[in-house]
Amino acid sequence: MAFWDYLPIAILFVISAGLAAIAVGLGHLFGPRKPTPKKLEPYESGMNPFGPGTRRMPVRFYLVAVLFILFDIEVVFFLPWAVVLKDLGITGLVEMIVFVSILVVGFIYAWKKGALEWE
């Protein structure tokens, strides 16, 4: 039965989770704890940490990300098209030309509006 084939993996999961729990648990039980403010700070390779953990990113990254998503996702239509191009014949080619030219219009628009300028 298929279920029993997975039994070794289940045992492995249980043993490894158990070992990890024992190791951490023992440390917690017997280890000495003397917290000082310095010790509670996040570890940054020995330096004193500065600033908040999460920085704000310039909004331009979002613009680039959005443009990337929009143009990137269209590839999803190219692949199946490329696979059956021979069977589609001239109709498929014309359809793809129309599709790409619509994308190009979007690209020209983004370009002219300055969405591709970093400064």
Binding site: T91, E95, I102, V105, G106, I108, Y109, K112
Partner: protein, 482 residues
């Protein structure tokens, strides 16, 4: 795909192609002359409208049954395209005045319009989903068009989050229907149910999810909570377009899907639809009473009208009255569209910068100072209430008749009672206009005024000669290939 497929969707191709060309043209129009864009997009919509009217008559399907061309689709296409023209007329001066004149406004409007025309023709759940997205995504942007005004941005974000939430329901529902019927075309689903090949439980869950998703779009209670905030925050010209276009498109999908494909599930669906319609009418009308802001008042009133239209959905399993029911719904949508555009045009006329002039009290004295404008607003309010001789009265009459023919007397009584409630808040606007003294600030502009007077005249005149329109609306019913 062949050539006849393309000619079937020619109005749509014209619209999309024109909008794409306008994107390029716009780059070469200097900033101070963006008003040209309004004219150019109006020309595009008119060309599309002429093609749609020329195509009138005949029934056919295209793209292997994904798109259907019938009276229903032509009727709705013409309604959408005229709405688009009205939306441009409303926006032309308004966005200039609000300092948000960017030419993307008209391009986005055209893209949204093409989603609506696609929705009118969609005969496949996937196409319905695509049309829904195509009409919604530009509307999300348009709702936030007055940025950095905070209320507009908030409206856009709320509309976007709840809109995409509802789209996810439509996607999952469609996936389940696909699993149940092995197809997503509406004729295919009907065939699968007829031969008993469909998994009815999956189909039922799928239908319920699609109902929730589309219910959000047309703001059926309890999926209406975004409506007041979005209608209030979005620029008024966008709200007018959204209130008419998005709602009509949502009902196009609801009617097409539920009247045709899911009518075999009527035993389970009808009680739910009954309750939803009743709840929508009651809550929409009662909450509208306490609104002081005219945009919020019209938002709740639009929820109430959703309730009236969704009443016809309870008749989904009675094929002998389907013609009447769908005809009544389409007629009501026309009445709602004409009256809404008129009422919103009046709102825009009185709105001045920073969202002032939007309270009902700001209409005081309108009757004395601008009698024509006040008379027009009175016509719209009477039409919303359903008082003859207006389109709204006939819309309600046909809806109630269809519901009574279906044997749902209780629902019809709720409809009549809530209409009486609605008279209170609609007539309050009229009372404020005529009975109170005040100094209303009015902005006169040619396109705005002509929209107001054309819709006011249409509300009265068409109601007197309404029979041809109703006959046309009820002839348009779905062509289901056997």
């Amino acid at each position: 795909m062949n050539f006849s497929d393309l000619t079937t969707i020619l109005p749509l191709i014209t619209l999309v192609g024109w909008a794409i060309i306008l994107i390029l043209v716009d780059l070469f129009i200097p900033a101070q002359r963006k008003g040209i864009m309004a004219m150019l997009s109006a020309i595009g919509i008119m060309i599309s409208l002429v093609i749609a009217i020329c195509q009138f008559g005949g029934q056919t399907t295209a793209f292997s049954g994904m798109v259907v061309f019938d009276g229903f689709s032509v009727f709705l296409q013409i309604l959408f395209l005229i709405s688009g023209l009205a939306a441009i007329a409303l926006a032309y001066d308004y966005i200039k005045r609000q300092g948000i004149e960017r030419s993307e406004y008209y391009i986005l409007l055209m893209f949204s319009l093409s989603g609506m025309t696609l929705m009118a023709m969609a005969d496949d759940l996937i196409i319905i989903f695509l049309a829904l997205e195509l009409l919604s995504i530009p509307l999300y942007v348009l709702a936030g068009f007055a940025n950095p005004r905070l209320d507009s941005e908030e409206a856009a974000l709320k509309y976007f989050l709840l809109g995409s939430f509802s789209d996810a329901f439509v996607v999952f529902g469609t996936a389940l229907v696909f699993g149940a019927a092995r197809t997503t075309t509406i004729p295919g689903i009907i065939a699968a149910i007829t031969v008993g090949a469909a998994n009815l439980i999956l189909l039922m869950v799928g239908a319920a999810l699609i109902l929730i998703g589309l219910g959000f779009k047309v703001s059926i209670v309890p999926f209406h909570m975004w409506t007041p905030d979005v209608y209030q925050g979005a620029p008024s010209s966008v709200t007018a377009f959204m209130a008419v276009g998005a709602k009509t498109a949502g009902f196009a999908a609801l009617l097409r899907v539920f009247m045709a494909a899911f009518n075999t599930l009527a035993v389970d669906l009808v009680p739910v639809l009954w309750a939803l319609a009743a709840l929508t009418m009651i809550l929409g009308n009662i909450t509208a009473i306490v609104q002081g802001n005219i945009k919020r008042l019209l938002a709740y009133s639009s929820i109430a009208h959703t309730g009236y239209i969704s009443m016809v959905l309870v008749t989904i399993n009675q094929s002998r009255i389907t013609q009447h029911a769908v005809g009544a719904a389409l007629f009501y949508l026309v009445a709602y569209a004409v009256t809404s555009f008129g009422a919103w045009a009046v709102v825009i006329t009185l709105e001045h910068s920073e969202g002032k002039g939007l309270n009902v009290e700001d209409y005081a004295g309108l009757g004395r100072k601008y009698p024509a404008l006040a008379a027009a607003m009175t016509v719209f309010m009477l039409s919303f209430t359903g008082v003859p001789p207006t389109l709204g009265f006939l819309g309600k009459f046909y809806i109630f008749r269809a519901v009574l023919e279906g044997g749902y007397v209780g629902l019809a009584i709720i409809g009549v009672l809530t209409s009486l409630v609605s008279a209170y808040y609609y007539l309050r606007v009229v009372v404020v206009m005529y009975m109170r003294e005040g100094e209303p600030l009015v902005r006169k502009e040619f396109w705005l005024s002509s929209t107001i007077f054309m819709t006011a005249i249409a509300t009265v005149i068409v109601s007197i000669f309404s029979t041809p329109l109703f006959t046309w609306a009820s002839k348009g019913i779905m062509f289901i290939p056997k």
